[in-house]
Subunit: 140 residues, 2 copies
DNA sequence: CTCCACCCTGCACCATAGTGCAGAGTCAAG
DNA sequence: CTTGACTCTGCACTATGGTGCAGGGTGGAG
């Protein structure tokens, strides 16, 4: 509860935000974190709400946004000319991305399961239908 | 139909397998393609069935296998001590991988859709529930 | 005043799957 | 024999999201 708690060092920020110290500096280089104030010694001084910012980045990543996209979301949240609709648009695009990825993964999964069904599970590898399917023109 | 057609240059192999020339050399460095014979000039000479090999790699990649995993599949197909069951095991592991990825993507998708539902679609970004959700501790 | 933990910068490196380029040599058609 | 397309090697670079290290400087407790 002392008044010196109004600023955090990188290490303290990293700890509170549960990331590594180099990650913080990496985010700064990438423009995801504002360039912080410095002490005369050069030590970075972070306001306590930087912790929220770093967590925001992590949460957005968990939702599938790349760091570049997180940067765009942060830009939206700062630009007063942008509205909730802009954010929604990004979210909708990300949902579409996710659905495309899922569809692709499902196609892979189906093909693999079909191949596994045709595979006796014994015998030499050179008669394995899984390998044979990959080996030849079978795509049509 | 001339007898010189028994060997391919990198360029010819690349063309038939529908990949780039550097990709062929990259696969060779990675041990995915056997080191080919060389002319006295140093030009690589590929047997025609190298085309099948490259296509195998591409097909396996399309099914979600990384190049490292493709290498393992190729090793299985060569090793006479390995059976179809070994290949099946790899395929099953890949299906499990795919299912884990899909589950993760579905979680992301659900959260995003829920957030979009709460979002009015207008108003300033600083009241946007999507951004607010990422901003704070909301995960529990 | 010393000591150790912490901080600074810049650079190199990890994996993944290639792409690009420079500078030199080669092949084959005309 | 020239010309243009192709090939050779090695190295650097792309994107992604960091990690690690060397060689210093700093902060505060004892």
């Amino acid at each position: 509860m002392n008044s010196s708690a109004i600023a955090l060092t990188v290490g303290q920020l990293a700890k509170h935000a549960e990331v590594g110290v180099p990650t913080i500096r990496f985010y700064e280089r990438r423009g995801l974190l504002p360039v912080p104030a410095r002490r005369t010694s050069g030590y970075r001084q972070y306001p306590p709400d930087s912790v929220r910012r770093v967590r925001f980045i992590r949460h957005a990543q968990e939702l599938g946004f790349s760091l570049r996209e997180v940067q765009e979301l942060l830009a939206l949240s700062i630009d007063p000319g942008k509205s909730c609709a802009d954010v929604r648009t990004r979210a909708a695009a990300k949902v579409a991305d996710i659905e495309a990825k899922t569809a692709s993964l499902n196609r892979m999964r189906k093909v693999l399961l079909k191949l596994m069904n045709n595979c006796p599970g014994d015998g030499p590898t050179d008669a394995c239908p899984i390998l044979l399917a990959m080996d030849d023109e079978h795509e049509r």
